[in-house]
Symmetry: C2
Subunit: 209 residues, 2 copies
């Protein structure tokens, strides 16, 4: 004899799944619109319409439009670590590990340049960039810490501080890539990041003869 | 016999001077309000009232509230070069010259922390930070170029690129200084900038034995 619950997912669990599905639909619709029109020019009403829900219903899923920016950053960071982890294990030394990290960051941005630009601008204009959100810094610091343990990094300097510096180099290069000077074409991001990394690894002072 | 024009400045010139005076009053009133209340929370009506002019008259002097941010940045840059120029002539080498530059930048920010914070936030939120405005980069690049000519900087690297990197380090440290993580007190800006500069000068790779 079959039990009634064999037929289908129990109602409370199904409701939870439906809710998660709709939340994801709203998120996906928002990200698509941000990439097309920019963050500031996309209204909550448009996001709701595009996801097939009412404007008021949006707030059952997200507290504000702002939250979507934070979620996107988290999602981007997850994609970075998913691609990075297997490569890090195979990297030959600190410079190569950091170089790989910069390459993946370049690829992630260059795969969706309009969306990346829109989300950086949103990150700045919503004031998020001013709040301490040290995930990338910690990721860099961790690579540096391991390199220091192997004697590949000067031991006098704090890995956390180097993590901050690598983050600053990335963020600066990303700015210049998003909106290049004057009429010049958007440069490639990766060579810019690799040059910055090499500068920091080798230092500006010429080697002693 | 006295000529009428001896009595006073000719009318057209006086009108020009009056206009410049009022413009300066509006600018000063705006900057005072930005430092007290922040850029976003200061309205054009408040600026006008505080400067003793009508709201509509504001637009005879400035195209937008936005313009005041650009003007302030220019003013800040002028104060930097005024203090820097006599010290640069006396600096002993590139590292000292760049260190002096970072020190003055620290002092300028620490002399008026609330206003500096308000103007950085305004710079980000108005989208100005995304436009190429390479004055500070060029100032750094110029110091590096001179150091390279004296053999104090590795000749393989482009001074313009180093100028960008030094700017990125400054901007990152300024961010962390403006809004420190969690409840921690605002750190001193100068040690942070000097550490970043030393990292870049010496590089992360340990010296060969």
């Amino acid at each position: 004899m079959r039990h009634p619950s064999d037929d289908a997912t129990p109602a409370p669990r199904r409701r939870r799944r439906d809710r998660a599905d709709i939340r994801e639909q709203v998120y996906d619709a928002a990200i698509l619109l941000f990439g097309r029109k920019g963050y500031a020019d996309t209204s909550i009403a448009e996001i709701a319409e595009s996801a097939g829900i009412g404007r008021g219903t949006f707030f059952n899923y997200f507290r504000s439009k702002d939250c979507l920016v934070t979620l996107w950053r988290r999602d981007r960071l997850n994609r970075l670590t998913t691609r990075l982890d297997p490569l890090l294990a195979a990297a030959d030394g600190t410079a190569e590990a950091l170089g790989t990290c910069m390459s993946i960051l370049s690829t992630l941005n260059e795969e969706e340049p309009e969306l990346s630009a829109a989300m950086l601008i949103a990150w700045l204009q919503t004031g998020h960039s001013l709040h301490h959100c040290p995930h990338l810094q910690l990721l860099f610091a961790d690579i540096v810490e391991q390199g220091r343990a192997r004697g590949e990094i000067r031991s006098a300097v704090d890995p956390g501080r180097i993590g901050d510096t690598l983050h600053d180099l990335y963020f600066g290069a990303l700015h210049r890539w998003i909106l290049p000077a004057g009429d010049s074409a958007r440069p490639r991001l990766d060579p810019e990041l690799q040059t910055g990394l090499t500068l920091l690894m080798q230092g500006l002072i010429p080697p002693r003869r």
